[in-house]
Symmetry: C2
Subunit: 480 residues, 2 copies
């Protein structure tokens, strides 16, 4: 399929019509350095004939309807924090330029419904804005990712974001009761019901979530809220190995059930990077262990989280699963523990990676994967350092490779493809995924074609062609 043959450049009259429809705030000519045409890792630069910022679902629908009729491409743009290039469309030789559609002006909290454990927010509300709306309602919206101050709900859902509390609360898709979306023909799917149970045909919500804007534009969502915990218990543990960490996870979950909301595995390399680049973030254990676990449990008042976590860790010591541990004794200590985990990505950026990998495996295969990947990478790129950290309870590792000390990452440019192949082949061989939470975007189109299930890929193409016959929605993403 060649979408270029079906897509058309917008005519001057088409663009004038959008200016009339949307007004000067809603229809903008992109500036040469427009930040909305960049992405965090600067691998691509986007291009757009116009940046449109509809102020409502109806305006969005009218824009999409006109584009569907004229065959004009639309790249949906949310917070712009995605790491795989799904939020922009580079200029291509002979390609038809299209629109960038930013949802930032649709930023209202439409409904706060604490009795229904729900809020309805528009796509342009930031993730922290959604968290605040939940807090005002006396509830918790548990999704939490590093970019939450900038990421917006439309993109958070379109990429099915993950983050720190997936073990307990699930991915973004698990926290959505319903969505409102403009489909590729410009029709509006009114799916904002506040229902926990609604078995009435295909689940369009789950199809749109994670579709990376290729099946339409999510314009609003009904988010599922939870009770706010009143007590927390947070601990850093030194564990002898990733295998022991997994045993410890099961031991803690056995005793504390779903109160366990985080179980992060951290290798010492990440702590070394912190010491060099973010010295404020200090690991609470001395000596810093090769492998640490940061775990947290939370529940309502009177749930004795601290005592119960301490008892569970005591059992972990006795079972030889823990060598040392620190339990946060104050809110300040808890914040300091989390600062360690949350500063790792910043330190990583300062070191500068040769190759990053957002992979997942069945929990039981994580240790095997780590054991296999290290020597394979050392053989291919001697002296490189591996910083491996992630959400063990979800089998999700951020497995990043850094230059040997003192060498610039550019030295490894020609080795990068081989390193990526080693990591992705190994994760695939362990029953895992080459994209745990970041998605496909433009970056991983080739990997999806390589590792994806052929029957699934064929079904995806059929669904895409059925709902978006001219291929106007986010061309280049997912399918290439």
């Amino acid at each position: 399929m060649n979408d270029m043959s079906r897509l058309a450049a917008p005519s001057a009259a088409f663009l004038d019509g959008l200016r009339e429809l949307l007004g000067p705030k809603g229809a903008q000519d992109p500036e040469p350095e427009d930040p909305r045409l960049s992405e965090p890792r600067d691998r691509w630069r986007g291009s757009a004939a116009m940046i449109v910022r509809p102020a409502s679902t109806e305006e969005t629908a009218e824009v999409v309807r006109r584009c569907a009729e004229a065959g004009v491409a639309i790249t949906p743009y949310s917070g712009g924090t995605g790491l795989v290039g799904g939020q922009l469309r580079p200029e291509t030789p002979g390609g038809a330029p299209g629109l960038l559609l930013s949802t930032d002006r649709m930023n209202r909290v439409r409904l706060s419904a604490p009795e229904d454990d729900a809020v309805v927010v528009e796509a342009g509300v930031t993730l922290s804005g959604a968290q605040e709306a939940a807090e005002k309602a006396g509830r918790l919206f548990p999704l939490s990712i590093a970019s939450e101050g900038t990421a917006r709900i439309g993109g958070v859902l379109s990429t099915n974001a993950g983050g720190l509390a997936v073990l307990r609360y699930g991915m973004a898709r698990d926290l959505v009761l319903g969505v409102e979306a403009v489909l590729p023909d410009g029709s509006i799917h009114h799916g904002l019901k506040l229902l926990r149970k609604n078995n009435t045909g295909y689940d369009l919500r789950h199809l749109l979530i994670g579709a990376e804007g290729t099946l339409g534009v999510i314009t609003a969502a009904a988010l599922r809220l939870y009770p706010r915990p009143a007590e927390w218990a947070t601990a850093f543990c030194a564990v002898p190995s990733p295998d022991a960490a997994l045993e410890l996870l099961h031991l803690v979950r056995e005793r504390m059930g779903e109160t366990v909301s985080a179980f992060e595995l951290i290798h010492k390399t990440g702590i070394d990077f912190l010491a060099e680049h973010v010295p404020d973030a200090r690991h609470p254990l001395d000596p810093v262990p090769e492998w640490s676990v940061l775990t947290e449990a939370a529940s309502g008042a009177g749930s004795e989280m601290q005592a119960r976590l301490e008892a569970a860790l005591e059992a972990g010591f006795e079972a030889g699963l823990i060598e040392d541990a620190a339990v946060a004794q104050s809110e300040a200590q808890r914040a300091a523990f989390w600062q360690v985990r949350e500063s790792i990505p910043e330190a990583n950026r300062k070191v500068g990676a040769v190759s990053n990998h957002d992979v997942s495996a069945p929990m039981s295969k994580v240790a095997d994967f780590i054991r296999a990947a290290g020597p394979a990478i050392e053989a291919a790129a001697p002296g490189t350092r591996i910083n491996c950290f992630g959400h063990l309870g979800d089998g999700n590792l951020h497995y990043n490779v850094y230059p040997a000390p003192g060498r610039p990452k550019e030295d490894y440019d020609n080795l990068r493809p081989e390193i990526k192949r080693i990591v992705h082949d190994l994760i695939d061989a362990h029953g895992g995924s080459f994209s745990a939470e970041h998605g496909i975007g433009r970056l991983k189109v080739g990997e999806l074609a390589r590792y994806g299930d052929p029957a699934k890929l064929a079904a995806m193409r059929a669904i895409k062609a059925a709902l978006d016959p001219r291929g106007i929605m986010n061309p280049g993403a997912l399918f290439g």
Copy 2:
């Protein structure tokens, strides 16, 4: 669209080919009274040119491939417990007979992976079989419905079953890590990864779950397991009203978080029916209150469930949300409490309903709906009795209408459509759904067309046509 024009009756050679492929156990001529051509409420009688029972995914794929080529219809058959007729295809004048495809011979537990909190089971495993596999792995598979001894996983997922623990653990779809399925062209989707995070394109799993067999045959599933609770606390409470019940739910959840796994609202009519028809099941409170709540919380050892639930109920008393309560003091009492709730459907059947409704509303609208529906039904069908019970924490009510005392239900045959319209119009006006957990099948095709979101229905038809162009998969279900 007229699927009859695209479907073809299987030729004698086609059926012989299937006999050769599947052997005598796998290819059966239906008996006149074959129970697999009936459904629990005896509203329809199914018809089939042959009942096929493939023993493997590969055999299933070969059957589907041949049917796709020849245009022969397939009705997937699982446990046969569905209440909306999705499991059979009645003979229609001029219609092309097809196959009934039973998954009952695919009944292996393929993998027990306690370290991954997962089991992989084939579609023909019963729901209780899946629960037992989880128990053997030292884990909990929390899905629980009345028909669990007969219902099989393929159907449980194809209908996205709900049940008693949705408040805590979600619907069937929330308990699935991946599926293996034969798509309508006979290709096999290999999606059985044991991953919590896997953002690699459209979520085919969620599209197949709840599709009622119209997009393919689910042949196996990787199920998500949870820690087994070690402590339970169970209470029956008399509440002054459904509004008070909802406030009580939030009070208990505020204190006990996600340990609350059940919150059932029960009207006295159901208890009266029990007294008459299932006298063993006795409500623990005397006098029996007009509205009761049965609630349960569970967690690991040392979680002090009993003490914490009692403290929460004490707070409920003080807030005027509880008038009387009984907390189970033994496992036997707990079982007796649940016997009351679980015997209600049996008593209902013995009384014989005029009209049953499986509806859901936002939690905050449940009481409004109940207040509005009672008088409207009384006006339309004077003297009828309403038995309203359900999962308040999910906004899900089984709202059933019974004859006036001493009158046969046949007296109301001509009123049934009007009663259904009243209930479904009201639930729709309250932002609810006319099908909370039972699905559409054949019974509710007209309701889906009436109340469904037009953009969603159009997208459903487009997806169906794209994946199943000849319409061979479960014709008549969902789309009519």
